[in-house]
């Protein structure tokens, strides 16, 4: 199936809706209106209806959406009906925090391996995941059937590792290194640069009305 041309902001809102639906499900609520979803997500009910319309017809006018059915559909749309295997490269502070972040497993992302080049870090257990020697990375990616690689390495190591893991067949990378990285259009790359987020806030503090 070709990539649907859905804006990133839409996908993010779908993720938010799913979170709210899961909360409502836990509370035993059976139906929800677009207005209710909108107010939880800080958007409008027209936006909610538009977002959901990309993917088919949900809900009935005046009756709202069935909570369980809509959350099941969203999980399917977002690719969350299965577990994804995640490998983290880099066992420094960021890599360790990511390895121990419970929010991943809760959402179906299973950290199966952490890699480092530093002998002092190799062999250390992080919530049950032992840090492995980065020399084993290429073979492991296949053996462990890794779906997504998280890069938590210094800037200069990032692009060579992107090249290396994409050669090994990886098609999704979340980059925490403070540098933009590139790969072929067949590879999905997201970057999280925390210093850059702070710089954006600094920019707004300097340029916004007092």
């Amino acid at each position: 199936m070709a990539l649907k041309h859905i804006a990133e902001s839409t996908v993010r809102r779908l993720s938010d809706y799913l979170r709210f639906l899961e909360e409502l499900e836990a509370q035993g609520q059976q139906t929800v209106s677009s207005g209710e979803l909108a107010s939880l997500g800080g958007t409008t009910s027209a936006q909610v209806r538009k977002d959901l319309s990309f993917f088919g017809s949900f809900g009935k006018r005046g009756l709202g959406y069935t909570v369980t059915a809509l959350s099941r559909s969203l999980r399917q749309i977002l690719g969350l009906e299965r577990t994804w295997k995640v490998a983290i490269i880099g066992g420094g502070k960021i890599g360790r925090a990511l390895a121990q972040y419970h929010g991943f497993r809760e959402r179906g992302f299973d950290v199966v391996a952490v890699y480092d080049i530093d002998p002092a870090r190799i062999g250390v257990s992080l919530d049950g995941v032992v840090v492995r020697d980065q020399r084993d990375l290429d073979a492991d990616l296949t053996t462990l059937a890794v779906d997504i690689v998280l890069l938590a390495v210094p800037a200069e190591a990032a692009q060579p590792l992107v090249d290396r893991v994409t050669s090994a067949g990886i098609r999704a990378i979340l980059n925490f290194a403070p540098v933009p990285v590139q790969a072929s259009s067949r590879v999905a790359i997201r970057s999280v640069n925390m210093a850059l987020e702070l710089e954006f806030l600094a920019y707004e503090l300097v340029n916004r009305d007092a």
Copy 2:
């Protein structure tokens, strides 16, 4: 000064250009062409010229940009010529990793305090920054002249803390809690949701051509 209507993507590219310029500066390079900046940043030289044109006239046709002058201008534009004081709320795994992340200080973001409500965490030193009792937060924000708050707390604690710190005068928040938060338009908020980034990758893995 009113907020200039510069797209977020432009600000991000300016941050990237600045990084490259600083590398070139360290290597002793004196001038740089828009083409060279473009190839480092994975964009086009027309884009580089357009991005820089928002902020005035830099460089000379055929001669390129003076590395030191352009990087000084970009630091000024991005609000990086000064140090920003950062407080982290939440001394869990994410909060601790952020407190010990060296990338912040290098970019002029100085973590001056970390807060938690858990007595077992209060008093612990994180690279010289002692975790403080969250009851002292409101008074401290003023005393310590905090500019930016990083929220590394559970979902349900996020919005009440946003309300609390904005009441105390905070106008920039970086939210790591896995939930959208809201404040008045006078407050700049950025959110980093790592599970959401993974969900976006999962979405692309499911919907992209194989």
